[in-house]
């Protein structure tokens, strides 16, 4: 017990030393908890006066569940990077006599504690957001509703938050604390890689089949069918991030230096780049999902000869929220990537790269990850939208949300390029490009060093 307490103290110090990292992790758990509480409260409040009450109930639960699934993906990827970076520290703890199981227990416990605290904050935030949004909605639509919170959501959101965080971090904790094994060798590595691709494709196909072919008989079965189909599709799509980046890395043989480095770096450090790409995928998938629903609603309104009202108010709010979240995710992932890839740009400067070339490399890296995330977000976001449209009582027609797709596939990568270059400028320094500082101080650590 004392060993566990000592290791928990280490974890507490670790969290205190990098408060931004703890805050980021907390935000990843708090966001879906808040969405869950707000979505269930608004659904219960608005359902009695809504034409499509059952549809909204399913939509709220699917969107809330989708949020947790997305959070699990991002937490899993971020935990993989975090634990990989702490490999040396964990080895030191082992060398000092700590048992692997005790270290794993300390990591799981600290994850659970942060997730619980963050979920509770998320619950409060979600309830407050619902209370703030309802008057806006009523003012917009001329309605008069009294907010009805759902008590069960106050328990289910933190429970789900802790389970999702611990479950997502568990594989990387297991990897970080297991005994060192000899590398599998190229043949076995290739086989494992193929198996992972096959599993990802299978998950995508199964997800699409569930959503597109299933005929749910009741609301409960609709939630389960649509939820599990969307989840499978999301997990499968996320599993394709690594193979897609490897394909792109192979395809850029004769591309300009910046694009070549961006694609190769992403494929070479799958832990880091997948985390960033999945974070972007998550943000943009939410945007695509909500955009698709809005397009379907608009299309029906037009078909019925209603004056074009634009999106429904709640959808507007959700879409703006999802778009902002997508942009924030792109910014955060870009910043992480720019900092992590500083050594390579420093090397380019050492060998005489023009400052513009260095900034182009920063920009290309950000754009590459945004593009990979954007491409994968299309099926991941369209799938639940397709299911929700099929289940709606009001007959809705699925419409491809071109506006959101162009945002995800063109505008955001272009924005990410500019953002990456700007961050590169901030990181490298406008005059020194990092190389002009003392090299022994300025040069970031070499990941490929033998030492």
């Amino acid at each position: 017990m004392s060993a566990l307490a000592a290791l928990l103290r280490v974890e507490r110090r670790h969290a205190a030393l990098a408060p931004w990292r703890t805050a980021l992790f907390g935000a990843l758990v708090a966001a879906p908890a808040a969405t869950w509480v707000a979505a269930t409260a608004l659904q219960r409040t608005l359902a009695p006066t809504s034409e499509g009450g059952a549809f909204e109930a399913v939509a709220a639960q699917v969107v809330g569940g989708f949020g947790f699934a997305v959070a699990a993906l991002v937490i899993g990827a971020a935990a993989a990077v975090g634990h990989e970076r702490r490999g040396h520290e964990l080895a030191q703890l082992l060398a000092c006599g700590a048992r692997r199981r005790t270290i794993a227990a300390a990591l799981v416990l600290s994850t659970a504690v942060v997730a619980l605290a963050a979920s509770l904050v998320g619950v409060l935030f979600g309830a407050s957001a619902a209370a703030l949004l309802l008057p806006l909605y009523d003012a917009w639509t001329g309605g008069d509703h009294a907010l009805e919170l759902v008590p069960s959501a106050f328990v289910s959101a933190p429970t789900l938050g802790v389970l999702v965080a611990v479950g997502a971090a568990a594989p990387s904790i297991h990897r970080a604390t297991r005994p060192t094994k000899a590398p599998p060798g190229p043949a076995l590595e290739r086989r494992e890689r193929r198996a992972r691709i096959a599993a990802a494709v299978l998950a995508c196909v199964a997800g699409f089949a569930l959503v597109a072919l299933a005929r749910p008989a009741s609301r409960a079965s609709a939630v389960w069918t649509l939820g599990s189909g969307s989840l499978l599709g999301l997990v499968g799509t996320a599993g394709l991030a690594g193979p897609l980046m490897r394909c792109l890395a192979r395809a850029v043989g004769r591309a300009p230096l910046a694009a070549r480095l961006a694609a190769r770096d992403a494929a070479r450090a799958p832990g880091r780049s997948s985390a960033a790409a999945l974070a972007i995928l998550a943000g943009l998938a939410g945007m695509t999902l909500i955009g698709s629903l809005a397009s379907a609603v608009e299309r029906v309104a037009r078909a019925n000869g209603d004056a074009p009202r634009g999106m429904e108010p709640l959808l507007v709010l959700a879409f703006v929220g999802a778009s902002l979240a997508g942009l924030l995710v792109v910014a955060a992932a870009t910043a992480l990537n720019a900092v992590e890839g500083r050594r390579d740009t420093w090397l380019l400067a050492v060998h005489g790269a023009h400052p513009r070339t260095v900034l182009a490399v920063h920009g290309a890296r950000a754009a590459h990850l945004a593009l990979v995330g954007g491409v994968l977000s299309v099926p991941a976001g369209l799938l639940p939208a397709l299911g929700l449209v099929r289940l709606a009582e009001v007959p809705l027609t699925f419409a491809v949300p071109w506006r959101e797709l162009s945002l995800a596939l063109v505008v955001l990568p272009a924005l990410a390029f500019g953002l990456g270059a700007a961050l590169g400028l901030a990181i490298e320094g406008s005059h020194t490009l990092g190389a002009a500082r003392r090299p022994d101080v300025a040069a970031p650590s070499n990941p490929n060093s033998h030492r």
Binding site: R264, L348, G352, P355, A435, N448, S449, H450
Partner: protein, 248 residues
């Protein structure tokens, strides 16, 4: 790239120094304190010369290399690299200089991990805007000279330490580069591989290039024409010439 031991052609006029440091001082601001890490020092490096710098950690060796390689500018004094005054040159001009005159070899290799051996060697030429085919050919020749032509398409993580360092040497001398700046290039290598690396450097200098080597190992310093001792930011003596120890 020419063969490392092939003579480098010079103009008819007497060769100017590849590197010249005059009363150079480098200071850094550390919080409220001003820390002098180097200087004042004077140093001249002619084509064909191989100079080793020894000294304890923190003596200013790496700072000296950074100044010699146009990675940094002095607080006071002047640094001429291939006749170009660093204090008067813009950031772009210094980048251009780094592409064409000095090549670096570091202790931990510092190959760009996403580029193959060939692409790493080709990098300075590519950054300099050379045509792909031309740059490819020159980079392949450079790899041949260090005995790595067969491994041209390998990524750095698939190469051994000695192979990586040879790639770094090929990159340091590819194209028109004539000045090699090596910061503990054998520090991460076994003694046999380290000796092979020193042989490559010696051959390059015998062919008319120049090298400035920072090392802690007296056996490796023995390959140089001159050995200078740097202590507390100053050469052990008033000037480089008076501190030199002739070993060859």
């Amino acid at each position: 790239m020419r063969a490392l031991d092939a003579p480098v052609r010079h103009a008819a006029s007497p060769p100017s120094p590849l590197l010249e440091l005059r009363a150079v001082t480098r200071e850094y601001v550390d919080g409220a304190a001003l820390v002098r890490v180097l200087g004042p020092v004077d140093l001249t490096l002619e084509p064909g010369e191989f100079v080793a710098i020894m000294g304890p950690s923190g003596a200013g060796k790496s700072t000296l290399l950074a100044l010699a390689g146009a990675l940094d500018r002095p607080t006071r004094g002047t640094v001429f690299v291939d006749g170009v005054d660093l204090a008067r040159s813009s950031q772009s001009k210094r980048a251009e200089l780094r592409r064409r005159t000095p090549g670096f070899v570091f202790q931990d290799f510092n190959l760009v991990p996403g580029l193959t051996a060939l692409e790493n060697v080709r990098l300075p030429l590519e950054l300099d805007g050379r045509a792909r085919a031309d740059a490819d050919e020159e980079a392949r020749r450079a790899l041949e000279h260090v005995g790595l032509a067969a491994l041209a398409e390998r990524l750095p993580h698939r190469l051994s330490g000695g192979e990586r360092q040879r790639v770094a040497i090929a990159r340091a001398f590819v194209g028109p580069r004539r000045l090699l700046l090596a910061d503990e290039p054998t520090g991460a290598l076994d003694s046999l591989t380290g000796e092979a690396v020193m042989r490559h450097l010696r051959a390059a200098c015998d062919g008319g290039r120049a090298a400035l080597l920072v090392t802690h190992d007296a056996r490796h310093a023995a390959w140089a024409d001159r050995v200078l001792h740097l202590v507390d930011g100053r050469f052990d003596g008033a000037a480089a010439s008076s501190a030199e120890v002739r070993l060859r």
